[in-house]
Symmetry: C2
Subunit: 288 residues, 2 copies
Amino acid sequence: MMIDRLFESVEQRGVVCLGLDTRLDYIPQQFQPNATISDRLFQFNKRIIDATIDVVACYKVQIAYYEAYGIEGLLAYKNTLNYLREQGTIAIADVKRGDIADTASQYAKAHFEGDFESDFITLNAYMGYDTLEPYFPYFATGRKGAFVLVRTSNPGAKDIEYLDCGEKKVYEIVGENTQRIGEQFIGRSGYSAIGAVMGCTNIDEAAKMRSQLDKSFFLIPGFGAQGGSAENVATLLHRGNGGVVNSSRAILLHYRKFEGQENKFDEFARLEAITMNDKIQQEIQRSK
Amino acid sequence: MMIDRLFESVEQRGVVCLGLDTRLDYIPQQFQPNATISDRLFQFNKRIIDATIDVVACYKVQIAYYEAYGIEGLLAYKNTLNYLREQGTIAIADVKRGDIADTASQYAKAHFEGDFESDFITLNAYMGYDTLEPYFPYFATGRKGAFVLVRTSNPGAKDIEYLDCGEKKVYEIVGENTQRIGEQFIGRSGYSAIGAVMGCTNIDEAAKMRSQLDKSFFLIPGFGAQGGSAENVATLLHRGNGGVVNSSRAILLHYRKFEGQENKFDEFARLEAITMNDKIQQEIQRSK
């Protein structure tokens, strides 16, 4: 199953999920200045992928950054996903879709087949668990998976996710139900094809979530800039696996910390991905 | 403000929001059989729009149906939105986006500018109210608006939207907060640029929501096939305005109820849109 491939990838290459949230102004000015928008975005991504493929577990492509450039942007999105899959790595499409069943069937077709085919997608279950069902046939093939938004890392997480519903908060209920629904799609790694988006900004929560949701693989946002520490991340993991930690700008723009190194943006991305993984691995060792 | 234009449109043309959830298999086989996917989808939509523009308040374009055909589908999506705006009608992009602020800024750019520019979008606030803020500059221009998912019409609405949080349910809290946030963008019609998606499948709820959310314009799904009655719809409205009622398949496929009328699919769509509005107007009169 694809979730087992992700588990194996973490064993081999560490926990970094490199976020390709690429904006034109992230790209060094002298890099293919005359190419189309679509080509500049894609060629930048390709260089980043080539330089990091052996040091990251997977890639996450945030579709919003491509939608913002219209059809041109979506061509780059398509080419990036195709390239990731050609290279044999794992592509998470961060689309956060959530809609009624008929519509969700269309989203499933959109993101698990055709131009925008990816290995995993992110989903928003606010409208209910019936919105997840149209994706099940794809999970059942063993070739696809998803991460459902449970507890996000933004300040607004407190607004709805943290509402108290008797003894539990909304996000705990969503997490438990997501795991329960995912039990029909457990791989040999022990994790389900339906994982959870789980921010790493609170350590007590992290420990609780890891023990309650022991079959849920976590897609972990919030590391670094949003305040999530390596210690929090290590707490969300189980023996250094069971989750991948997203980082985007810190990796893509690491080259800017060094004057006159614009041409080597890909090498600096690689360095930062390695550094990030090392920090987290140290914490995993320390907490053993 | 755009919400006032929508209010005026309801005054003039009634409450129907025609959903352009167009699939290739909805299109009569003999209609442009040799055209590209993109052209077939767009030309079908164009015929529907031309035949209904004076009898519906606005159109809702569900992006999932276009994403499912990849780049080709999104070209049809772009052309449909552009055509709607050229014709001077009102286009709601049903994208249900919801993401952290940086990403939401990209979605705002994607759906309020450029290739995919629309007048209103739908938003999912599960991740919190900070995810709405990047759209505010567009609302402040008076030219754009949004509908936030509050209470949807699918069976799964009970799963998360209906969780009890003390005295209130999640959807009631989301509805109240959405209205409060929207108070900074109230138009001369008395409604805010930030409206709510409010299903019409429960009449007691409808009465309560209409009285509590008196400044929120409603985008109303669930009429007909999903069990929402004209009476429920009338209850969600205020003096026959303050909301638009979505219908898609019942209108687009009305031609199939009549043998050998495939060529007149657009005329049958018009008839069904008129019939639907008439039913609701009768109920509005009755409940006065």
